[in-house]
Symmetry: C2
């Protein structure tokens, strides 16, 4: 635990979101209010790699205004990376290097903003730093569009993707409904979520009454049954005039083969160019003959800060803020969580989870969130999801475009002679 | 020309947009203010097909509030269709049927909301109705995301797609920039516009200074040069760390083959499932080895009322309003246009074009709108496009979702015994 005034290190990890910078904003603004305990906040350029290569960013060089603008800026302002530290036994050198860099820069606080893997890393750094005689206060900050962290009621980043997906399928549904008499009858929208159907489920929020889009959701949790699916598509077209479908990129057959991998190679023997949406659309065309359109939202969904959920933005900010408050209160190896209160109208507060309890545990969708036919969400699921997309939090616009900040990201002078190859 | 109080017929035609209902709103609200000259406004269910099959919607049954809500509702509230009337010589029966239905329902005004084909149809109906001794006042209302109508400075529907595309590629660009050190280095976003690059060009607005996304735009107007393209992609990755690309669905090789059609069949001999974005992404992966992501926005782009351009919404409304004003002023066979004033700051007013001058003429992008390397837009293009995406016009939200109106769409009692098969 940090005993004297020390600097802090903050890093963004894994796939970025529309609101991870809001967590950075909450963290930096709050750290600046605790100058008695926390010196400077250094950010890792491109995540933890910045720590390993001693490529630190001095956030104290950023203006108050620019730091505030992080709250409405999508992506990772300091760069992120996909780099998971192995166990201490397997890669002692990386841990030793981290501690060496932290020591050199008088860093006593390690804030790691990411998913399950990152919480595992933060936990290990806490343990290893103790062993190595330079104890570092390690606090995790939850972030993942996949909403798969345990203990916390939901994960910052998810609510905004959920809102984007629900808004988009509602809008596309209206479009298809007006074209269906003579043209497009089926619309397929592919969304993220390879292992869990949380994002696909969020699309279901757009359907408030019978006949509303989406009519069908394909989850990774439910083995794809072609016959049953096509029957349902046909029923929808007959009954409502059209059929709008949300499909998770992780939708798979019973044997685990992803739908996106079926059909596999093109005329040149290339692996199929990807996308489950075109596969599903083509299947419908081949079997039922309906004209289709399909969309693949990809990064657009997780970067769509312009239609972020206000709840999500506030929670992301609050997690960053709480992380600093935990640290200065002397807590270690923990992660702030979002706790849903048992009130009629949605209220939440901040809780605390041990990193060891969060690390490497995936929260799956409860079974009772998927309707009995396996192709839509239940009321229980709606009750859970709806508060998470509530409220709009529009970024400022200028000349018709959202104004997102690009920080100066000035480097901290390197103090170590040794270079480190990641 | 209508001489006594007669009813009006309004129909939506072709692909719908985020703001075609704003034109309907302007038209219906204005018609309701001219009850001395215009009786009821009947809408065609599913466009002109509704007139042919005598399937009319009585918009007088809709509340003031619901009609007002059309201004913020995407899609075609009465249904649209893709049905082009042939020449009078080729399909006399359809024209005769139209006049028969109009006569039966005392319809003296025909408002047709669509693109070039629709303006042609409206013009023909005007001529034929004269010949048949039941003269109908025919006014066109411009609508097309493709922005390809002549005379008018721009087309309602385009500005909102343009804004969506510019906002989306900016957001995705920020995302990729933060991931590029260790993960995705190339992002490809496919947009609409098979014949003209207006929509793709709009993506260019997001790039305000060197290094901003998008770095490359592939237009239908510029023959695709693989070598030159890959060289540019590589340069961008080396210089900026990543490369963001907007590609028009109409991008093609010199011989006219669409990029989307290259590679053509999969292992089962199916025609390729579509999408130029995955083709371009795979090409980059194969030749340069960069990790990629791609998105296909499809209907999401033209239905995205949540991020509509305020300018576009206002112009769409104004076109509907002007159409009625033209009609009651005794004009015929004309279309209101948007006229850009020669002022420093953007100002526009309403002009008038003969339907005969608009019909079947496609406005292409001027050559000087595409940069000399063929892969971006020029300042002249920016100056033209920027005002069109200006301003936000958010729909109302409830429970995190935009509230779009679904009209009652009550049918008008049929008066003709004869049925008509379209």
């Amino acid at each position: 635990m940090a005993t004297k005034k020390q600097n802090a290190f903050y890093a963004q990890s894994g796939g970025v979101t529309a609101v991870i910078n809001a967590s950075a904003c909450g963290l930096i603004e709050t750290a600046r209010q605790h100058k008695d305990k926390i010196g400077k906040v250094y950010a890792g350029r491109n995540g933890i790699i910045g720590a390993l290569t001693e490529d630190l960013i001095d956030t104290s060089k950023e203006s108050k205004k620019d730091i505030a603008a992080l709250k409405h800026t999508p992506s990772g302002a300091f760069g992120s990376c996909r780099h998971k530290l192995k166990s201490f036994a397997d890669n002692q050198a990386e841990y030793e290097r981290l501690i060496e860099v932290f020591k050199a820069h008088n860093i006593g606080y390690f804030f790691y903003n990411g998913g399950g893997d990152s919480m595992d890393t933060a936990n290990k750094v806490s343990e290893v730093s103790q062993k190595m005689g330079f104890p570092i206060t390690c606090i995790g900050i939850p972030k993942t569009v996949d909403n798969d962290l345990p203990i916390t009621d939901n994960c910052p980043g998810f609510g905004s993707v959920a809102k984007y997906v629900a808004v988009s399928i509602r809008e596309a549904g209206f479009d298809v409904a007006s074209m269906s008499e003579t043209s497009t009858k089926v619309f397929v929208m592919e969304v993220m979520g390879r292992h869990a159907g949380w994002i696909a489920a969020a699309g279901g929020l757009a359907a408030e009454k019978e006949g509303d889009a989406p009519h069908i959701i394909l989850f990774p949790e439910v083995a794809f049954n072609k016959e049953k699916f096509l029957k349902k598509v046909n029923q929808c077209v007959k009954k409502f005039g059209y059929c709008a479908i949300v499909v998770s990129e992780g939708a798979a057959y019973k044997d685990g083969t992803f739908l996106a991998d079926a059909g596999s190679v093109d005329a040149f023997g290339h692996k199929q160019l990807g996308g489950v949406a075109p596969v599903v659309a083509q299947m419908i065309k081949d079997e039922l003959g309906y004209k289709y359109h399909w969309a693949v939202a990809d990064y657009l969904q997780r970067a769509a800060r312009h239609i972020a959920s206000e709840t999500d933005v506030e929670q992301a900010y609050a997690m960053g803020k709480a992380a600093v408050e935990f640290a200065v209160a002397g807590k270690n190896a923990v992660m702030p969580t979002i706790v849903r209160k048992k009130t009629k109208s949605y209220k939440w507060t901040i809780g605390e989870a041990k990193l060891s309890a969060v690390a490497n545990v995936e929260k799956m969708m409860p079974k009772n969130y998927i309707s009995s036919n396996g192709m839509h969400i239940t009321q229980a699921c709606r009750d859970y999801l709806l508060p998470l997309i509530k409220g709009e939090s529009y970024p400022p616009f200028k000349n018709g475009l959202p104004q997102y900040v690009v920080l100066k990201n000035e480097p901290v002078k390197k103090l170590l002679k040794k270079k480190f190859k990641v």
